[in-house]
């Protein structure tokens, strides 16, 4: 059984269909990319999976359990952690506090009103671990709002990682980065994904990034899936080229 | 209004007070030169107009007294501070005057919520409070405390005067519009009882929240009631707003407007909208008696305007206090209280008797009509009826009348 299954997922806004009958299976340990031109419905798909937006039709199953009707925070608690297309951090907190707060969300006594030094200690340990894996240890003490844009993108990934998610959803992790920043970020990410412990669903615009990181690609066009296969096959797919790669130089 | 001179004057008063209070022990402060009278009152906020009148009356009285060598050979000095009409501030200011400035006599405290919050503390402070304008009937009924005295006219007394006047009027059916406030409800209760006693048809009353701006719905209600007269218990901005709008709807052409009280300041602010209004008055400066004539003449020499309603009422309270202090030969609360109880004074409104049972000053009641007069910029009140003290003063410790 697949870890994450989408089954006929549809979202309509009035007459507009943002996501149309999308079905997809992501196996444990897989790194899957969802690509498509602007407005293809990639981010909408993420919003549907994570419960930010309610689906008009269809279902999301995670480890066999249906997520439909669950609120966003609860879905996150089942083990799905995401990053945002537009960087979402706690700008006045240090990088370390950012990951700590993220890690704390997965702990039983995350709400503890007094004391809580053991909670903090454990959360800091998990957070520091995540920072190290993304090479951010050197900037751990800096306020997140003052980090470079590249580090901010990686910090968001570190926050998701600190939650030890069973599925990691990355929404355009290199969005807005310069060429050099993108290269180094991709380097870091591919190192992270190399060992195959993580299950990743990746939305990305940049083809270079997708082909470096993903082992399987789903192509969305106007809300519908038009291809779903390994990178080489997708690259060669005529429909995909027409819809997407054709316009991409 | 120019405030500059007032400010420096008060600063002077404050600093002398500060020097006088070398110790926090009240005994020493009391032995100091002047007689200090504390006056927390609203100088800013919606009730500031009333506060300004009360302050002027006290300053005028103090000047008169001090020109004649003071009281008990000591000069009189007012310690004045702004309460914004807020009871929390009023209590704090009063407490400061008592604890820091060694005050043993209070006046001012204009708003009934301020007074009701303050009076329970008087015993603890060992201080006498002589009201200058508080109309809330409860202060001399359920809420009476031994150290409170009211030489001024209360709300029920004003209503009673209007009601007595109505007994002789051909109007049969009456309606009421009151402020949704203790004062409004108390006065309307008295009015309703009086209507029934006089065999009139009381068609009901509505109450508007304080701060109401649009009275159109209330005007519709009054019109629909079919009453020939409507009794108004409104004050300040609400009163001005209602009268302005009633005039725009030509309400006065069909219904006689009656009011518990109206002062010259409101008349000046509302203009012709008040003409024809019949109402009670705590003090109409047009009263014809020698004491009042001398007072009005002296006042006009000082301020070039006639004294307004709250100015007259507050002045009378000061005169009563003066007589009390002279009789007691002291300002200690116990002695002053004994002296004030049963005290009789010939004041600007005629004879005032501070009856011992509930500390209400028995005095005449007046009914006025607002008229336009040649040569006057604003309409003025004209006294159309006067009722003796025993008819307008309620039974002891009561707000409602039984005859």
């Amino acid at each position: 059984m697949a870890l994450l299954e989408l089954d006929g997922l549809t979202k309509r806004y009035g007459g507009l269909v943002a996501v149309n009958q999308v079905s997809m299976r992501v196996e444990a340990g897989e790194v899957r990319a969802v690509i498509g031109p602007n407005g293809a419905g990639k981010t909408s798909l993420f919003h549907l999976i994570t419960g930010v937006v309610r689906a008009s039709e269809g279902d999301v199953r995670f480890d066999g359990q249906s997520l439909s009707g669950m609120s966003a925070y609860r879905i996150c608690q089942t083990g799905l952690s995401r990053t945002f297309q537009l960087t979402a951090l706690f700008p006045e907190m240090t990088a370390r506090e950012n990951v700590r707060l993220s890690a704390q969300a997965r702990m039983k006594r995350r709400w503890q009103p007094f004391g809580g030094s053991t909670v903090f200690a454990e959360a800091t340990r998990r957070g520091d671990d995540a920072l190290e894996r993304l090479g951010l240890t050197a900037v751990a003490g800096r306020p997140a709002g003052l980090l470079s844009h590249g580090d901010q993108r990686l910090l968001e990934v570190a926050m998701a990682l600190a939650q030890k998610p069973r599925v990691l959803l990355l929404d355009e992790p290199t969005q807005g980065l310069s060429v050099e920043e993108t290269l180094s970020a991709v380097e870091t990410l591919s190192g992270l994904l190399a060992d195959g412990h993580l299950t990743v669903l990746l939305v990305e615009h940049d083809m270079e990034v997708v082909f470096r990181l993903a082992r399987r690609i789903t192509v969305l066009h106007r809300g519908s899936v038009i291809a779903d296969d390994v990178p080489d096959v997708v690259k060669a797919d005529a429909a995909v080229q027409a819809a997407y790669l054709g316009g991409y130089t | 209004m120019a405030k500059g001179s007032d400010v420096s004057r008060r600063r002077l008063i404050q600093s002398t007070a500060a020097v006088a209070v070398v110790s926090t022990l009240p005994q020493y402060a009391r032995a100091a030169g002047s007689i200090k009278i504390g006056m927390p009152l609203p100088l800013t906020g919606p009730v500031a107009g009333v506060g300004a009148q009360m302050r002027r009356a006290c300053e005028f009285w103090a000047k008169q007294v001090n020109a004649k060598g003071g009281l008990l050979g000591r000069p009189v000095e007012f310690i004045i501070s702004d309460t914004e009409g807020n009871p929390a501030t009023a209590v704090r200011k009063a407490q400061e005057m008592v604890e820091r400035n060694g005050v043993r006599i209070l006046t001012g405290i204009a708003v009934s919520s301020e007074a009701l919050a303050t009076v329970p503390r008087l015993a603890e402070w060992d201080t006498i409070f002589v009201s200058g304008d508080n109309g809330d009937g409860r202060l001399t009924a359920e809420a009476l405390v031994p150290n409170f005295f009211r030489p001024n006219v209360s709300g029920p007394m004003g209503t009673r005067a209007v009601a007595l006047h109505l007994r002789d009027s051909p109007m049969k059916k009456l309606f009421g519009l009151g402020m949704d406030y203790a004062w409004g409800h108390n006065s309307m209760e008295v009015f309703e009882a009086e209507c029934k006693r006089a065999g009139k048809n009381f068609a009901g009353a509505v109450f508007s929240p304080t701060g109401t701006k649009d009275f159109s719905t209330y005007i519709t209600r009054i019109r629909q009631s079919g009453a020939e007269g409507v009794y108004l218990v409104l004050s300040g901005d609400d009163n001005a707003a209602f009268l302005s709008q009633a005039k725009q709807y030509r309400l006065g052409e069909k219904v006689q407007l009656l009011t518990e009280l109206i002062d010259q300041m409101t008349i000046n602010g509302t203009g012709d909208a008040t003409v024809g209004l019949i109402g009670g008055s705590r003090y109409p400066y047009t009263l014809d008696n020698p004491v009042n004539k001398a007072f009005v003449a002296a006042w006009q020499a000082e301020y070039r305007t006639p004294p307004d309603m709250f100015e007259g009422d507050q002045y009378q309270s000061c005169v009563v206090l003066q007589a009390g202090i002279e009789k007691a030969g002291s300002i200690e609360a116990a002695k002053l209280r004994a002296a004030l109880e049963g005290l009789e004074v010939d004041s600007i409104k005629g004879r005032v008797v501070m009856r011992a049972c509930d500390h209400q000053g028995e005095q005449q009641g007046f009914v006025i009509k607002i008229v336009k007069r040649e040569g006057m910029a604003h309409p003025v009140p004209e006294v159309i009826a006067t009722y003796p003290a025993d008819r307008v003063t309620p039974p002891c410790n009561k707000m409602v009348y039984d005859n």
């Binding site: 609120s71 006045e92 007094f114 926050m159 | 400010v7 926090t24 209590v91 919050a117």
Partner: protein, 312 residues
Amino acid sequence: MGGWRLFFLAAILLAAAPLGLPVFAMTLLTEALILGLLAMSLDLMVGYTRLISFGHAAAYGLGAYACGYLALHTSLPLPVALLAAALLAGVVAVGVAWVCTLVTGVSFSMLTLAFAQLLYALAFKWTSVTGASDGLAGIPRRAGPFGLTVLETRNGYYYLVLACMLGAFALCRLLVNAPFGAVLRGIRENEAKTLALGYNTRLYKISIVAVAFALGGLAGALYAPFAGFANTDLLFWLFSGKVLIMVIVGGQGTLIGPVLGAAFFMLAEHVLSAYTDSWALFLGLIFIGFVIFAPEGIWGLLNARMLKRARA
């Protein structure tokens, strides 16, 4: 800052105050501490969670009316009445917050204002309990069966207020420094992200509003027997606005700042109004000056000074 060390120093100084201060200064200090407790409770919402309330007078008024009613109509000892009033405010807050947290930003502020005004209307209309516009007057300080007659004296009452203040401060400080407080800071800086991390942010918001109301209610409950009355002015929106300004002028998100802000606001108004009728003009200019020259508020100003001295 050596937080707790400063706390104990302040506690000792305040405890010694009755020895050195004149009578009326103690009255002012007591009232300042009560208002400080109220402002501090609002800081939990405004400073730590960015929940800007225009209706915190609701908590104060509820506490004051509840405590006043109990003191006038029952023989409950004062400490019990205080706790009951605080509890009532906290419970009411859960309902209020449940509705208010449906929206965010200025709409949240306006809904808190709406609730406070509805309570104000209720206090005006529920005559048998609240005394309508007259309010409750002559509220006694009832010592009760424990023989705590010391609470009836001025200094005894001051120590009660001081104890409540210090206790509440310690509680708030523990709360904001615990994991729970870390989540509040997350909500303050980025609520959507906090939700996405898996926190039920609405529950956290409702909880903190309940704590803030309970402590604000405690402040109101302390005020009623202190001043001897409770009336509708304590619930009016203008008072809510003043408390909010106390928090901001003191320095939001610092707990101690709002306490200083409350004392400053009250004393500035009290002292200025004794010298000039135009006190509002000067007070207004002072606030504008603070926004421009001391954006971090009074506590920020003091902190900067202390840092400078430490460096020198």
